[in-house]
Chain length 191, copies 2
């Protein structure tokens, strides 16, 4: 099996929710999947950040212009999925259309996996899947800002540093590059 | 002058504040500078995201464990500075020590530039400087989460895609890599 093929679905393992920063802190574009009233949807998202290790909190903007907004607000659940460059065109295609019009899993040949704690589906082809429950809705009305708790994380053990996409606006993605290990330079407790 | 030398200070131009996403959305580690009661400080930050284009809003976590927390809360001002890989060791060193103990500009040979709208200094050696004013403090008490408005942006025109650092935790930085241009694939209005 060619693991770099667009439709490959890497095998995942349980991963500590308190360490999801390893995948989300570098700022990758993610795919947010949701499910409401028997229908699933997917949206692209680039405006997110880690807020806390434990509980594992992620804050993000889900514009009310997105079909997913109402689904996620109503259910208080979603899955944040981490795509790699193998899915670049799919990421663009997902952002181009509205879930009000089509079933994006079917349209883009993506596999909906079963989550453990939420009804929203995992996207099997992504490198990692983070099951999320709405933790605080205080800033939704004003900023479309959702604070989620990651309640379960599924991560492919390899590659350790997946090639992620980082959106710069205007149709341009930056790709993740090499790694610099500065462990030895950090003062204890500061990493 | 070797512009890639660690202490080079690239010339900057005014940049539209509504487009700071081009630099912050891909998730780079940034340096946050502040000034309070005649003293300046710098901290590293990786937990931030764009919240809105206009007004240009950035949300970020500034842990109350940081010396900068009190300075920024008291003044309602800071500058978000974008370092490149030329400053990797400086980024680590800045995170290793507290501004309560030393003057980080002096200790690390950084040049404090004058901002236009805030008292906090620009870090001249960084690729870009974003002057920020506190816009909403609603989530500071609960999450150490500050919502800033970027009121002025200074950006070096070249290189167009600076080599930024993206923190993965545990002493490991991911470096930005190549660019993929998918402009032609995006539906109008979706970029």
């Amino acid at each position: 099996m060619n693991m770099s093929a667009p439709n490959a679905a890497p095998r995942k393992k349980d991963f500590p929710v308190s360490e999801v920063r390893r995948y989300l802190e570098p700022g990758p574009v993610v795919l947010v999947s949701s499910r409401c009233q028997g229908k699933s949807n997917i949206m692209t998202m680039g405006w997110h950040s880690i807020l806390e290790f434990s509980p594992s909190l992620v804050g993000c903007v889900i514009s009310s212009a997105n079909h997913s907004f109402g689904m996620i607000r109503a259910t208080g659940e979603c899955v944040i999925n981490l795509p790699t460059t193998a899915l670049t065109d799919t990421v663009v295609n997902i952002g181009n259309v509205s879930g009000a019009d089509i079933d994006k899993f079917a349209a883009f040949g993506l596999t909906a996996g079963k989550a453990k704690h939420v009804a929203a589906p995992l996207i099997a082809e992504c490198h990692a899947n983070f099951e999320c429950k709405l933790y605080d809705d205080a800033l939704i009305d004003e900023y479309n800002y959702f604070i989620f708790e990651v309640v379960k994380a599924h991560v492919a053990p390899q590659p350790e540093h997946p090639e992620t996409l980082h959106y710069k606006g205007d149709g341009i993605f930056m790709i993740s590059g090499g790694i610099i290990n500065k462990k030895a330079m950090f003062r204890p407790g500061m990493r």
